[in-house]
Symmetry: C2
Subunit: 487 residues, 2 copies
């Protein structure tokens, strides 16, 4: 967190305020105004917190003010969570106090009929008059895991810090997706912006802030409409060359566009136009949430590949065949293994075994007699092979109590000394639910992204290669630890 | 199980033998010959089991024979799990005993170099001379959940009986996929055939048996090569008109084809040719394992739709927008809600709410004040609406301890009387891991297929609609209970 002075950038004040007023703070544990303050305290936000509530003197042990303008010190940002009809008055108050920016969590605006639209116009007017920037309304707003600042009023799982920042358009969806990410994805988060009705601060504003944010290395966006498309593409083009941006733009079709009009009032852009602009700007486009999260994971956890040549280690012939199909489908190349790799593998393969890439690692297992050692041998050979730019590992397993294929992944990695091998590795397993869960968790801890299918392994590598072959690896921080992907 | 006489069909004897010899049975718990016998006993196979082992008098309490030909009674089928070099002699012995069919689990044949290939030719010769059919070699072979017959030598989770039968080419992959299905999929299985090296019995033989098998209602196939393509397409065309067949045919690309040659010696067919043949034959083609299992699930659990008009109930605007996109992408239509549905919904929607399909069910929740009741109202209206052929439900959730969106699905279903509503319903939730697991499990118990994304909801419905619009619903058993999808 900054330690000095007032920020010049009001968007930065949304993520890194030194002081915040919570208008609508309360001690009723059922109410958003309580949950929000609770989150701020529980996440360890160290800035000044000023609860504002007309009918209280303290809230959760903090001195409470009746109006924002009564607060003695400086107030950088205000979170507003009072009924919609009270928001304009609160905004006037914030303007008087020279608050930099407000996060309006309250709903009942543009999304709630004519009355709401009128209120929305009112607050926009006040804000632009007083030079206050708005996030929202109708959103859970902001989360910054690095300083514990948040405007979220839903009970959150404890976020892990990491390189990924997220921009999402809609409140409820953003919260649910956030919970999903926090409880299923092995990478950590940096910042989250739920933009709600987007009456002021939009994707481009946030992107520009992320551009300069050293704690953001990968950006994921869910958007239905982009208001100022030209600006967005311009900003994206600039930011893309420094940090990968993955975008799920919904409302692509005529029907989707119609649905979005009612939902967020977004006006549809012809999808071919938007798609071409994305490509030109270097944006990585995802077709659905799974793809968005698949790409986010591989970018968050992988070092840059030097090329597009994939090595596949598969513990079943079917895995070899399907991987080869996927590599061709996704425009990557099968690596030609180096003579050194071939020699190493040959030593541990029965005479009848046909060695090639994809490698049927079952051949090694037959000769070596042990799944773990065969995995170490093949993985080490592939990770060291200069002809292999990226590796996809395809395992099979049965039940937790089955001795076949029992592999101590941590031991394998430590024997290889994986932290010195700077090459993307993705993995998948076909097995019982419990074995799959064990595998995914352990691989996650080892810093390796896993996917539910070998095809999604390859799709992720393909996005990774396309991006880094375009922009080079120069912007990737060289001091990242291979396992944690953190400096 | 049949109670009379000897079957005319040797393929049937592979699934429904009244007697089986297990050649290579042993009491060493590390050995496949033990695990296999253990599985047969544990799954409750009621036919006669004859262990065969030259050096034992009993195995697991059963009288043991030194040779198949020494067994006094009739032996319909033999499972062979001795070292490859001993298999020809065993086959001679089986021929002498007039065994109908053998399942050769042993590996070390065509997949294991020149020596193996020679052995493979030998056993084919013996079998064709004696009129014995072979499954395998190099496979885990057969599983029939209805009579407990199996040749699998991997420790299996207890299979649930159900409508789905599976044909897979490769042993290890088939076993891993089977474990995956048993522990993650809510439907039950009927028969599994792992065909291994496919030296004799192939996909077409098994399909013909499934055609007449009353316990098989849906067929899923993983294949790399189809030896007799003409016959396969002919048989598929006939069976497809009675039962949906979903096929994942790998080795589609040049690279995949090359990998398959080493793996199963399959010769590649030009994929456009195969694809056209599939379409003509009514086969439902899947591009990867996830798609194969997604389609299998929807066919196993859903009644036939009467048309292609989809109704979407989504608890977030983003769900509406993305669902509409997906429906257009997958060639389905958004249902136009009936006047009756619109009237019902209008009663429970705030005046500013725009009612349409996809329905933003959050509107109802705002007025009704309760997620569960709003879900009942919208689901009941959609399930009864004659203009809606299929329903996709898109939920959001947070943590297990979050009160928002807490819905007792069983109570909702029982209030609606869902067992009378014969219409496909699929569901998805975006939430924390634990809430997602709860949702999937409860929905599975209620007979509703769930998917990890709304896009996969729609993709599954699209496959369902295409199939039933082509073949009609006449073959779908009318006495299935909506919840269990079982008579």
């Amino acid at each position: 967190m900054r330690t000095s002075g007032r920020p010049c950038d009001p968007v930065r004040s949304l993520f890194e305020p030194e002081s915040v007023a919570v208008v609508g703070a309360t001690e009723d544990p059922e109410k958003p105004g309580y949950l929000l303050l609770r989150n701020l305290i529980d996440l360890g936000y160290r800035g000044k917190i000023y609860p504002v509530n007309r009918s209280r003197e303290t809230v959760l042990g903090l001195k409470c003010y009746h109006r924002v303008s009564e607060i003695p010190g400086e107030v950088e940002t205000a979170i507003i969570i009072v009924p919609a009809r009270e928001v304009p008055k609160t905004m006037e108050d914030c303007g008087e106090k020279k608050v930099r920016s407000v996060i309006i969590c309250s709903s009942g605006f543009g999304e709630a009929g004519r009355e709401g639209a009128k209120l929305e116009r009112e607050i926009i007017e006040i804000a632009s008059r007083d030079g206050v920037r708005i996030v929202g309304p109708n959103t859970t707003g902001i989360l910054n895991t690095y300083n514990g600042f948040t405007s979220s009023f839903v009970k959150l799982s404890k976020p892990t810090r990491g390189p990924v920042s997220i921009i999402a358009q809609t409140g409820m969806f953003a919260s649910a997706m956030l919970e999903h990410i926090l409880t299923t994805q092995p990478y950590g988060l940096s910042k989250v912006a739920g933009l709600g009705n987007k009456v002021d601060v939009d994707d481009s504003d946030i992107l520009e802030y992320f551009e300069g944010d050293p704690e953001t290395r990968v950006v994921a966006i869910y958007a239905e409409g982009i208001r100022d498309g030209r600006r967005f593409i311009g900003v994206s083009r600039r930011v893309s060359s420094k940090k990968p941006i993955i975008i799920l733009k919904a409302a692509r079709t005529r029907s989707g566009g119609k649905a979005a009009e009612t939902h967020t009032g977004s006006i549809m852009v012809r999808d071919e136009v938007f798609d071409a602009a994305c490509k030109a700007a270097g944006l990585i486009r995802a077709g659905d949430i799974e793809e968005l999260l698949d790409y986010t994971k591989v970018f968050a956890m992988s070092p840059p590949p030097r090329g597009d040549r994939v090595g596949v280690i598969a513990y079943t012939g079917a895995g070899c065949v399907m991987s080869a199909d996927a590599i061709e489908d996704y425009g990557l190349r099968l690596a030609e293994l180096s003579e050194e790799t071939m020699e190493t593998l040959r030593m541990y393969t029965p005479p009848f075994g046909v060695l090639s890439n994809p490698l049927d690692a079952e051949l090694l297992r037959m000769k070596v007699g042990d799944a773990e050692e065969s995995m170490r041998l093949s993985l080490e050979a592939f990770m060291r092979d200069p002809n292999v730019d990226m590796v996809s590992l395809v395992m099979v397993g049965l039940r937790r109590d089955s001795r076949i294929w029992k592999v101590d992944l941590r031991r394998v990695f430590s024997k290889i000394g994986m932290d010195h091998l700077e090459k993307p590795l993705v993995a998948t397993i076909m097995a019982s639910r419990e074995v799959t869960e064990d595998f995914d968790e352990e691989m996650g801890r080892l810093g390796v992204p896993t996917y539910p299918s070998l095809r999604r392994n390859i799709r992720a590598l393909s996005a990774l290669a396309r991006y880094y072959l375009k922009y080079g690896a120069s912007t990737y921080p060289s001091n990242l630890n291979w396992h944690t992907r953190r400096p």
